[in-house]
């Protein structure tokens, strides 16, 4: 039956239920990734960002909030140029973070 309206699913993040397993595994390899302050330098310098929506800042945040579909989509647009690693004020090895994330996604055994 058409009521003339529909309900959108809630966009709220429920921290009691988020799945942080991938993020925790990445942090186990490099605890430095937890020190992100969301400054946005990585996204600002990213060549792919303007065209594809790729953003390391958003990747990390989405992982922390359990929004893994967004992570996967963004990662596929990375060109691995490594400019983000150069500008990170916390010294996070973002390029390696992306590689590690891809490895975990692909379930490939690799050295971190």
């Amino acid at each position: 039956m058409d009521f003339g309206f529909s309900l959108s699913p809630s966009s709220a993040v429920n921290l009691d239920k988020v799945d942080l397993s991938l993020y925790d595994r990445l942090a186990a390899i490099d605890p430095g990734i937890r020190t992100c302050i969301g400054c946005g330098s990585c996204s600002a310098t990213c060549t792919a960002s303007a065209y594809s929506g790729m953003s390391v800042r958003k990747v990390l945040l989405a992982m922390q909030r359990g929004r893994m579909q967004e992570v996967e989509k963004m990662l596929s647009n990375c060109m691995l140029c490594g400019k983000c690693t150069m500008v990170c004020p916390r010294g996070i090895n973002t390029r390696r973070l992306i590689l590690n994330a891809c490895r975990l996604y692909a379930n490939v055994e690799g050295e971190a």
């Binding site: 709220a12 993040v13 921290l15 020190t35 992100c36 922390q64 909030r65």
Partner: protein, 338 residues
């Protein structure tokens, strides 16, 4: 006629001022309203950034006060100008002719129950930063669960809040929240710890290191967004709602304990002093320094000086430095050198 220097307030600012005045050869009288010295610091457990013990700081200051006239449980009942200085009558009947007065009356902790939406005094597991320090000091508190699995900290409770009557930043709560979050994570390693903040203002030496440690080594979750409401759940937890402003999405989480970082506000009775010595109060309700850059411990009135948080939120090292500065200024004033 003995020429005293009145030091009003027996917190760390007043204690350090009195210690230094005595060392400079002057005769301070330290006046404290309560029955013990140490002020707010006395109710604290450990201090950032070195995790030193608050009671050690107070004991060290007390050692320097052995030969100082300390009046506990006494307040100023009247204050009259003399040709040179002021005559102070205390509530215990004692009279002190004073050459100068140092106001070291400190601050009040924001009454957290005024932010009703956070549920302090309403829900079973909502406490303040001071309550938590009391619990660290071994005081029993039934609001702190035995083994909490999720703990939250709300920054800026009564700070940067014009509607709550305090537009100022309280300066020390960001780093205090991080300190307390780490302490809780050390006690309960299995618990998830969340900090809800508007901005993290980590200006001091080693503060940023503390933050990095909290993120990297303790896995404390920092969520940028002011908590909008807290509600008790059927199983006695508290549910917190906020916006995760970095992702632009609403966020909610159930907690076993919520700690409110109550801010630093001016004392309600500051006006009684300013009226007695006929000087204006600052527009934030704290005492007004002659100059906020070059003369923070000096007032507009000759012979009236300030030390510590009575002119605004201060850290402990800042307070102690100001106390020393005030003591030196009093000395120069009394000796006619300035």
């Amino acid at each position: 006629m003995a020429e005293y220097i009145a030091v009003v307030g027996g917190g760390i600012a007043g204690m350090e001022t009195a210690v230094r005045l005595k060392a400079l050869g002057l005769e301070p009288v330290l006046i404290e309203r309560s029955e013990s010295l140490g002020g707010h610091v006395a109710s604290w457990h450990r201090l950032f950034p070195d995790m030193s013990h608050a009671d050690k700081l107070i004991k060290d200051l007390e050692k320097g006060l052995e030969d100082v006239d300390v009046q506990l449980g006494a307040e100023i009942s009247s204050l009259n100008p003399l040709r040179k200085g002021y005559s102070l009558v205390l509530t215990n009947g004692k009279v002190y002719p004073c050459r100068a007065i140092v106001l070291a009356t400190g601050f009040s902790l924001f009454p957290a129950e005024r932010k009703e939406e956070y549920g302090y005094g309403i829900y079973d597991h909502v406490i303040t930063n001071r309550d938590l320090e009391g619990w660290f000091n071994g005081k029993a508190d039934s609001r702190v669960p035995e083994s909490p699995r999720a703990i939250g900290f709300v920054h800026c409770v009564g700070s940067r809040d014009i509607k709550a009557g305090n537009s100022q930043c309280s300066k020390v709560c960001c780093i205090t929240a991080i300190k307390q979050a780490i302490e809780m994570k050390e006690k309960f390693p299995e618990a998830e710890v969340y900090c809800f903040y508007m901005d993290l203002r980590l200006f001091g030496k080693k503060y940023e290191d503390f933050y990095i440690k909290a993120q990297r080594d303790y896995n404390i979750h920092f969520i940028r967004g002011r908590v909008s409401e807290v509600a008790e759940t059927i199983d006695g937890q508290v549910q917190v709602k906020a916006e995760d402003t970095l992702s632009g999405k609403p966020v909610r989480v159930r907690l076993d304990l919520l700690v409110l970082m109550a801010g630093i506000v001016c004392n309600a009775d500051n006006q009684t002093f300013t009226q007695a010595v006929q000087m204006p109060l600052d527009d934030d309700g704290f005492f007004r320094s002659r100059d906020n850059v070059g003369a923070i411990t000096e007032s507009d009135r000759p012979g009236v000086f300030f030390a510590g948080a009575c002119t605004g939120a201060k850290t402990i090292p800042e307070t102690l430095a100001e106390a020393r500065s005030a003591a030196l200024n009093v000395y120069l004033y009394v000796k006619g050198l300035k």
